[in-house]
Each structure stands twice: as C-alpha cells, then as structure tokens.
C-alpha cells in the first residue's frame, strides 16, 4: 500500500491538449506543487472510470482528467462521451464516500498553459483542504 499523502494528485493528460499545456507551463518554468504525477494518454477517452477508482485506492487524493475542449477532440469527439462517463462516476464517488470533488475534469486547448498551471495549483489547494483520504482507506479496509 502506498503512503497516503494529503495532496497526491494523479493527472491523466491527453497527448493533444493536456500534455501540451503541461509542456508549455514547463517551458515557462512555472513553479508548481510537486504533488502530481502524469499518465499521458492518447485521448481522455482512454480513462476508464475504473482507473480513477484504482487511483484512489493506490494513494491518490485527487484525480484530474485533462483533455481537449469538447468539440476540439482529435479523435472525433471521443472526449465527449468520456466526459459523460466521468461525470456519472462523480456521483458514484459521492456515494462511496470518496467525494465527487476529488475528481477534476478539465478541458482546454494545447495553447492554454496558463490555464493548465492554474488548474493544477487550484486543484492542489482544493485537495489540500479536504479531509485526509486515510479515514476513507481505513473504513474500506475495515469493511473487508
């Protein structure tokens, strides 16, 4: 079991927008909290709801899925149904006690590195303010 840090954030970033935003922020040497890890994906369509749950079970305190604007997807709008699936997952996160607000869905274009940096900073701050995931982890462990 991974240690539970209060701000561990797992970011799924699509290769056509999210990841390019991250690259732009990097080039400008925008100082960001080192709490997040990135899994590059081809498209937000890759992110199965299951993977988000597994991320929480593996020590993430927040999960962000950053893809292209709806309508700007490189894969013929594959991000649109992905967005719907993940919004549905949010309700599930609420019922399981994890909390839907630990899932962030962000959509931007490749050029919006400022937005990217702000998204990460704001989400970091938001997750930091939430109660620790430790209690949820123990409650799940106790249920077993």
């Amino acid at each position: 079991m991974s240690p539970v840090a209060d701000t561990n954030i797992l970011v799924f970033a699509c290769r056509w927008c999210g990841l390019i935003g991250a690259d732009g922020a990097g080039r400008r040497r925008t100082e960001l909290p080192a709490s997040f890890r990135v899994i590059p994906v081809e498209c937000a369509g890759y992110v199965e709801p299951d993977a988000v749950i597994r991320a929480f079970a593996s020590g993430a305190a927040g999960v962000a899925v950053l893809g292209c604007h709806v309508g700007g997807c490189r894969f013929n709008d594959a991000n649109h149904p992905a967005l719907k699936r993940l919004e549905l997952l949010r309700t599930l996160l609420d019922t399981t006690g994890i909390g839907g607000d630990r899932l962030l869905l962000g959509f931007g274009t490749a050029h919006e590195h400022h937005q990217w940096a702000d998204t990460i900073r704001d989400f970091h701050r938001h997750v930091e303010g939430l109660p620790s995931m430790e209690s949820w982890m123990t409650s799940v462990a106790g249920d077993r």
Binding site: S2, P3, A5, N8, L10, R15, W16, L19, I20, A22, D23, A25, G26, R27, R29, T30, E31, L32, P33, A34, S35, F36, R37, V38, I39, P40, V41, E42, C43, G45, Y46, V47, E48, P49, A51, R54, A55, S58, G59, A60, R74, F75, N76, D77, A78, P81, A82, R85
Partner: protein
C-alpha cells in the same frame, strides 16, 4: 526477455541541478528488469544516438527507458535518432524529467526527485507490461470511385486520372457539369458555365482512365479503405466494381422559397435558378428588378451564410443593367458578403455600375405590395432610418444552398456523419477533405456552400489526398492515423472475454468495432484500418475484452500503482 536499459539525461545541468539523478540511478539499478542505468550529459546532441546504440549492443538490452525532456521538447528527436540507428522505436519510452519536473519544481528539489523517480517507474511499467499491436498491411486497389460529376467531382476525377489512377465517375444526371450547366455567366470572370469546365469535361470524355456512368446511382458500398466494394444502378442494370477510395461530390441544391415573399402565388417572384434560366433563354426582364438576399438563410433554422448568393446577385444585377438598358436594380441585403480581393472588386464594380443597395434588418424584413403580381416593396433602410418604397416588376429571391437528402443517404451508406444542416461533415477542421471513414473524401458543395472555384480547388485537394493513399500498393494499418505521426496501436477484442454487449460499437467514434456472429454468440471485432486508438472502447467494455496492447489495463494499472510509491 531482454532487459531494459535506462539512460538518464542531465541536459547539461537543466535536469541534474534540481533532480538528484545519482540517487535515482541507484534506485533503478536495483530493479530486476533493469540491465543497466547510464547517466549522460545529453541525449540529443550529434553522436549521442550512435553512442547509445553502441551501449545497447554491448549490453545486449532490448528495451530502452529514457529520462529526459518532454515529448514536445527533444524527446521525439532522441527517439527518432535512435530509430535511424536501427533501434525499434516501439521499444523506446521516455519519462519527462525536464518540462514536467525539474523546470516546474525548481524550488523543491526533494519533491522533484521523488516525482522523477515515480514517473520513471511508471514508464518502466509501460515497457514491462505493454505489448505491440500486430500491424497489418492494407492492400490498396489503385482505383477510385467519384460520385457526382459537377465541378468538384470533375476536378477530382481529372486530378486522379492525371496521376495515373483509374476513375469510375458516377452521376445521376445524363451529362457531367453539375449546376454549372445552367449558369450562362459564372462570376467573377463571367465566362459561361460549360466553358469554365470545358477542359475537365473534355478530359473526362477522352481519358482512357476515366469511365463516366451517366444516369447512374450508387446502390451500395461495402468494405474499407483500400478496397471498397461498390454496386452501381444504371440504365444498363447493375454494375459492381471495386475501388480503393471514394470521393463524394454530390453537390447541394437551392432552397425552394415556397410561401416566402409571394413565391408560387405571384408570377414575377422568382428564384436565382429561374433567373439563370431566363438569361439562358435570352429573355431578360426590363424594368425595375429587386433582389432580396438571405431568404431563408442566416436565420434560426439555417444560421449559415450560403457564400454564393451575394456575388450571384451582383452578377445578375449588372447583367440586367447591361442587357436590358433602362432597367433599375435594387439589392435588399443584410450585409454584402464578398470576401477576398476579387469579389470585393466585383462589389465595387456593381456600385459604380449603378446597382442600388438597401440594407435591412432581419427583424424587419421587406414587405411586398401587389395583387397577383408584385408591384413594389416596402423596406426599412437601416442605414438612413427611413422606410423606402421601391417599384418592382421583378422580384428575385436569393435562397441558400441546402443539403440534398440523397447525399445524406449516401453518407449513411459510407458511414460518415452529416452536420445538423445535412451537409457532409469533414473529420476535423485541419483535415478539410477527409472524413471519419478513411478512404472516403469529400469536396464541393456537398460539404458546405462554395463557389465553383472553391469546389474545383476542393476537388483537386481530394484527388491529391486520395492519390497519396492510392499511390501505394500496401499501407501499414498503423500509419492510418488522423493525427500527425503514426497511431499508438489499435484495439484488439478478446473473443473469449467479449459478451457481445455492443458498448464498444456504440462508443467508437470511427465505427471500427463491429459485432460479428460466431456460432451462437455475438462478438466484437475491430477493423484495424479504421481504429485510431482513442481508447474509448477499452473504457466502456465491462469485461476488459477490449485492449490496446501498447497501453493495456496492465500498463495503466501498474502506472497507477507506482504513481505515488514511496521513494527511498
């Protein structure tokens, strides 16, 4: 299995200044799957690739993990450099330690080092668990089907034939030419329609590579890029043929203004099409002519501009003044749309020629007067704020081009979408003549209102796009990517695990998943040519039956588990 070699790049201090590469080296070296870890000053400088290649040979490692910069920095250059040296690019993966780590966590070296270790670990998971998609070669039939022989289809057919590709050119009409056949003067050059496309029509008749099928429709299309099986229904019965690519150029038609401004009730209210026919018949009306623009266009139902109607009215207005001296012409418009230098000059010419322009507001459209025949128009002139009363002996309604329902049926047959107005949708704005279905191209007014010049240019573009595919004997399916570069892989359905639920079929944005009957069961199958590796099917399969080998559930699972692993 051969071990993994790791190269950590210092980037002349850009990475090593923040990230403690030495501690990372030690940590990675203890991983049993790792053969060796080398620290390097750079990876992208001349000679670096050859040195890396030599090390790989010497150590006998098969897979490579690079800890360097972002994929949009120099990482792709490094991977391509290695590929040039003969290293299989699919076996080289990189973790971003510069843009994604050192440069954004410069004030937090400990945090940056932890993150770098985790990100490298995650990419290691990709090398350990990822597999390669099996590539298949698509055999390409070097023949094309062009549907519609208007200016766009003619340009596409002649372009293809010019590149040595045999073309089957199909039109439901008896002769080629499309809408231009009715136009006696084509703006802005004012040559006749048939003269404008004379050379194309001649080539269609004379080229041994073009076969024209008049009065013919497409009955069915099956198959995929490289080999479409087509059935045609013509006057001599059905013909079947095969083509590697299909160009759709079936045009559009003018909206019929039934019930608008007295059309259909009053004889002197006509459409632009009827105006063209009157010119062709040589009976140009004399008297006071009034044109109304944007009839049924740029409104809630059809918010688009039809592109051709403004220049069309300018052309016909000047023609009336020229051919019927003593006439007056007034154009009632909401905006005059004449983009580009040529059309703008055309507008100025009309102004100088004495055409009158009155601008009205969409909320206060002109009103017609008269009984049986229109005798005049009342219009509120928004520029001067007065209501004008204009005598009219002829009222011409400029209606927009609208989609042909038959084209929408063809689109369904070809498995490509139409937009909400029924025009054929391009796949993405940066691929204007390509569609969701590889091997199917679009041009002309079937995709959007366009002038004949634009339709011809699009036809030529479609020809070049089709030829770049048809010119090859075989094409690896893995290169059939919509986005730059090759695609990641393609999805593969596990027939054992699939329960035939159809989720993947519903979600696939490229119609690449199909249910197939196997004995008593339905199982999904992926058409590799179409799959673009978007991952959607993987996400919705309840049985884990859909996987893209390069980033399968084991890869993702391992990456997630390692993301926050403690670093000692």
């Amino acid at each position: 299995m051969k071990k993994i070699g790791v190269f950590l790049c210092n980037c002349f201090g850009e990475i090593g200044r923040t990230v403690d590469l030495e501690s990372i080296r030690k940590r990675l070296a203890s991983d049993p799957s790792v053969g060796f870890v080398a620290l390097r000053e750079s990876l992208c400088m001349p000679g670096d690739a050859a040195e890396v290649r030599a090390t790989l040979r010497e150590r006998g490692v098969g897979r490579v993990l690079l800890g360097a910069c972002s994929p949009y920095g120099r990482m792709e250059t490094v991977r391509l450099g290695l590929a040039k040296e003969g290293v299989d690019m699919r076996k080289v993966r990189g973790a971003d330690l510069r843009e994604g780590c050192a440069w954004i966590h410069g004030k937090n070296p400990a945090g940056a080092t932890r993150k770098a270790a985790n990100q490298l670990d995650m990419e290691l998971a990709r090398l350990q668990n990822g597999q390669d998609s099996m590539d298949i070669d698509i055999r390409v039939r070097s023949e094309a089907l062009v549907i519609g022989a208007g200016p766009a289809g003619l340009a596409a057919a002649c372009g293809l034939a010019g590149m040595g590709i045999p073309v089957h050119l199909v039109d439901r009409g008896s002769a080629p030419g499309g809408l231009l056949n009715v136009v006696t003067k084509v703006y802005p050059t004012e040559v006749s329609g048939p003269a404008k496309i004379k050379s194309l029509v001649e080539m269609t008749g004379s080229s041994p590579l073009i076969r024209f099928y008049g009065k013919t429709k497409v009955a069915s299309v099956k198959g995929y890029a490289g080999d479409f099986k087509v059935a045609l229904a013509g006057p001599e019965g059905n013909t079947s043929l095969r083509a590697g690519a299909v160009v759709l150029a079936t045009g559009a038609r003018l909206l019929f203004p039934r019930g608008l401004y007295g059309y259909g009730k009053m004889k002197n209210v006509i459409t632009q099409m009827e105006m063209e026919r009157q010119f062709a018949a040589g009976n140009v009306a004399c008297g006071n002519a009034v044109f109304i623009q944007c009839v049924g266009a740029r409104c809630a139902e059809r918010p688009y501009c039809s592109t051709i109607c403004c220049p069309l009215s300018l052309k016909n207005a000047m023609r009336i003044l020229d051919e019927a001296p003593g006439s007056t012409v007034t154009i009632l418009h909401r905006d005059i749309m004449t983009p580009g230098s040529t059309l703008e000059a055309y507008y100025r010419k009309a102004l100088h020629r004495g055409v009158r322009f009155v601008r009205f507001d969409a909320q206060r459209p002109p009103e017609i007067r008269g009984n049986g025949l229109v005798s005049g128009v009342e219009v509120f002139d928004v520029l001067s704020g007065v209501t004008r009363s204009i005598e009219a002996d002829l009222l011409v309604l400029s209606t927009p081009l609208v989609a042909d329902p038959e084209s929408a049926a063809l689109a369904r047959m070809l498995e490509i979408p139409v937009d909400r107005h029924g025009f054929i949708a391009e796949v993405y704005p940066v691929h204007p003549v390509e569609t969701r279905n590889d091997g199917v191209f679009i041009c002309g007014t079937a995709r959007w209102p366009a002038s004949s010049d634009q339709a011809i240019a699009q036809g030529e573009a479609a020809a070049v796009k089709a030829a770049s595919f048809l010119g090859k004997e075989t094409v690896p399916a893995l290169t059939m990517s919509r986005v730059p570069g090759t695609k990641l892989g393609h999805a593969e359905a596990n027939a054992e695990a699939c329960t035939g639920c159809g989720n993947c079929v519903a979600v696939c944005p490229y119609r690449a998943c199909k249910l197939q009957r196997v004995g008593q069961r339905s199982v999904s199958r992926v058409i590799k040519v179409r799959c673009k590796a978007c991952g959607s099917c993987m996400s919705v399969c309840p049985n884990g039956a859909m996987q893209i080998p390069e980033q399968n559930y084991r890869v993702t699972g391992a990456m997630i588990r390692r993301a926050f692993r403690e670093v000692r």
